[in-house]
């Protein structure tokens, strides 16, 4: 049984959210002797709750935010009135999105931290450098890989940034899709390599090795082989005896005193009762969508625009999960539904290249992240009949013989792309709904078109019998949530400084995808966890010096 604090106990830190960032921060702070309460709106699930049930976990989405109770609204531009529709998807339980994610887990490249300097400005975008560089984050990336457990092959990609340690675990088995991708990519002079995954290829630190069951994305792992914060750092935090994980606690406001310092958080408990947890400092790790929303919900006479938002930047510059897919059908069964979803990857097109005439780049991975029902509904090419014998025979032929390539691509920072509060719609607790305003910068789509053509080349070189690809379209619904409280040295254009401390409030820290200045090439979670280790180290030092 882990420690329990009373709401009236002034703990050292309240951490809001328990995903990649919250899990790490809780573990690091409590390991350093500080008393921590983690407030998490979702439930605390165990391995027995994670079953193979596509209807429950994929179609009913029981591990992600429930849009019936917490609805979103969406609009493309500020001139429009937003309409109710799904806009953001995130894991809603202890462990957050690391419980149900696909577990692609790679580091940013050195260039990601200084693209403004290297590339220059982009019209219509707010491309900026990060206040930190890759080299400063490298030791924390290493820590993430060691403590979470990541499988991969160091040095296998010539484009990888420098690393001080190899991956703690060897790569997972290659699948048929990975083999076809690797052969084709080599033929084209590209550099395929084993995809780094936050999934254990061997037993590690008391957790089981992956059983190749194939249920990763949208599912929790029943053998704890997926390196979620629930399976890795959260139990470590609880074992310190100084960290309470308080599930089913939905924070609605962070309180401030007359000095402009935060004093704790007000949340709804599982029965809807309001509770105020006192703390000396607050860390918000509620993700790139809910963190800015909570700041905007935390209006006070001291901060009438929302907490830590005197410059009006909170919620702006939102970065999303951009990408595009192409698919191929092959002669023989691949059975790529078995095993982890992604087995091979290239980063040859990662960097921007002026010769292409636009900003941005991306990686391409070989994957099969389909399950029987969603493949039948969404995985077949458009020229296949939607019902009848033709539909049925296509199902029999395509499911085992298809693979997907995903280009995960850059998303430019645009000021008007933002998270805000809907002026009308409320959630089931009576709080203003989350509103997303988003329209891709034209270069986001240019890079997608460019990489779609590269994917088609790869599928052709792989000998696909049939190839079909998506169109580059403006994004309306996203699962990678970044950029909305970005870090920076200039308090006029960013929300937190390079140590994740809010410019406006000395004892408030924001650490999660919201801190990102640029999108990288998607798959942000490894970096979110690394930022969290680094931020927590700063918090520990500052609190030892009495500077929190």
């Amino acid at each position: 049984m882990s420690v329990r604090f009373r709401p009236s106990d002034t703990v050292d830190f309240v951490v809001i959210g328990s995903g990649a960032a919250g899990g790490v921060v809780a573990k690091e702070l409590s390991s350093a002797g500080l008393r921590v309460v983690v407030l998490e709106q979702g439930p605390h699930l165990r391995e027995k709750d994670f079953t193979h049930d596509e209807i429950k976990f994929f179609h009913r989405g029981v591990l992600v935010n429930d849009l019936k109770r917490q609805p979103n609204t969406f609009r493309k531009t500020e001139a429009e009135k937003a309409v109710r529709q799904p806009a953001v998807m995130y894991g809603r339980q202890v462990g957050g999105g690391t419980v149900h994610f696909t577990a692609n887990f790679w580091r940013l490249h050195e260039v990601d931290f200084e693209e403004r300097t290297r590339w220059g400005s982009v019209p219509g975008a707010s491309l900026d450098d990060w206040p930190i560089r890759y080299a400063e984050l490298e030791p924390y990336y290493t820590k993430v890989e060691q403590e979470f457990g990541v499988s991969g092959l160091a040095g296998a990609s010539p484009f990888d940034p420098p690393r001080s340690q190899p991956y703690p675990l060897p790569p997972l088995p290659v699948k048929s899709g990975g083999v076809l991708f690797e052969r084709a990519a080599r033929k084209l002079g590209l550099h395929p390599y084993p995809a780094p995954m936050a999934i254990l290829s061997k037993p590690y630190r008391g957790r089981g090795a992956c059983t190749q069951c194939g249920y990763c994305k949208h599912f929790g792992c029943e053998v704890r082989a997926k390196s979620s914060s629930l399976a890795s750092v959260i139990p470590m935090a609880e074992r310190t005896g100084r960290c309470e994980i308080r599930a089913e606690s939905y924070v609605r406001k962070i309180e401030v005193n007359a000095q402009g310092r935060v004093t704790g958080a007000v949340y709804f408990d599982s029965r809807g009762k309001e509770v105020f947890q006192k703390a000396r400092a607050v860390v918000v790790c509620a993700n790139g969508a809910e963190t800015p929303r909570l700041l905007l919900l935390s209006k006070s006479s001291r901060f009438p625009n929302g907490l830590a938002n005197s410059n009006g930047v909170a919620g702006k510059y939102f970065l999303a999960d951009t990408g595009i897919e192409a698919h191929g059908l092959f002669e023989h069964p691949l059975n790529d539904y078995k095993g982890v979803h992604v087995s091979r990857l290239i980063h040859d097109y990662y960097d921007s290249d002026a010769k292409r005439g636009f900003f941005g780049g991306g990686g391409i991975d070989a994957r099969f992240d389909w399950y029987p029902i969603n493949f039948a509904l969404d995985g077949l090419p458009k020229d296949v009949p939607r019902w009848g014998e033709g539909f049925k025979s296509a199902l029999a032929r395509y499911f085992t013989r298809s693979m997907t390539l995903l280009a995960h691509t850059s998303c430019l920072s645009v000021e008007s792309n933002s998270i805000s509060l809907d002026p009308e719609l409320k959630d089931s607790w009576g709080l203003p709904a989350l509103r997303l305003t988003f329209k891709n910068h034209p270069d986001d789509l240019n890079v997608q078109r460019f990489l779609r053509d590269r994917m088609v080349e790869i599928l052709e070189a792989a000998g696909a019998q049939k190839i079909w690809a998506d169109d580059a379209e403006d994004l309306v619904y996203t699962g990678h949530l970044m950029g909305s409280c970005r870090m920076g040295n200039d308090p006029r254009t960013s929300v937190v400084n390079g140590n994740h401390r809010a410019h406006d409030v000395p004892n408030l820290f924001l650490v999660d995808g919201s801190s990102f200045v640029t999108s990288g090439r998607q798959q942000p979670t490894c970096t979110i966890a690394a930022l969290a280790y680094r931020a927590a180290e700063f918090m520990v030092q500052a609190s030892r010096k009495g500077e929190v």
């Binding site: 596509e54 290659v174 083999v179 037993p203 090795a209 053998v223 023989h332 095993g339 939607r386 025979s393």
Partner: protein, 182 residues
């Protein structure tokens, strides 16, 4: 315990855990398919009509289809449990389909009683409606979802597409990764 034997112990313990999961899985499956299905929410006539439509979406001519998989029992269960709010869409959708049927085939008595060509003509006439989209989604779910939900009887759907639900697979998984090992 030294670290090697400790690691060994964990591997065994975890393998045992995986085996238990596999047994539990199998148990749930057998229990699901041995029960005689009953309709809870849908009336018999309504169920017959819906089943006739579903079996046009996944027909049974070449091999068992939606009918044999018990898709209708899945739909019944969905409307009784997690998709309760779709009942009205079903009621109105089926009504509109009947109107369409009478318009196309005034002499016909029911959807179930139409002949092959008439069925196809009726589906063509409704295939872009919202109701058809819903019925198609449910038919696919009932055909390819877990048998615990009442459909996919004897794993008919999974067998058709070549899918197997197991607690553990070992590589090689498919043709090309096997080829690579040789």
């Amino acid at each position: 315990m030294n670290s090697t034997s400790r690691r060994r112990f964990l591997e065994v313990a975890l393998a045992a855990q995986a085996a238990e999961i596999a047994v539990a899985h199998q148990h749930a499956r057998t229990a699901a398919s041995s029960r005689t299905p009953v309709l809870v929410m849908l009336g018999a006539a309504e169920a017959r009509e819906l089943e006739a439509l579903a079996s046009q979406i996944i027909p049974s001519a070449s091999s068992p289809g939606a009918r044999e998989a018990g898709v209708i029992y899945f739909i019944d269960k969905a409307l009784e449990t997690f998709d309760r709010e779709k009942r009205e869409a079903y009621r109105r959708g089926l009504e509109a389909a009947q109107v369409k049927r009478r318009e196309l085939f005034p002499a016909s008595e029911s959807i179930a009683a139409l002949d092959g060509g008439q069925h196809i003509a009726l589906l063509r006439a409704i295939e872009s409606t919202e109701f058809f989209g819903l019925l198609r989604t449910h038919t696919v779910m009932g055909f390819l979802g877990n048998p615990e939900y009442g459909g996919n009887r004897d794993l008919i759907g999974w067998k058709l597409i070549g899918f197997e639900d197991a607690a553990r697979f070992e590589p090689p998984f498919g043709y090309y990764d096997r080829e690579e090992r040789r």
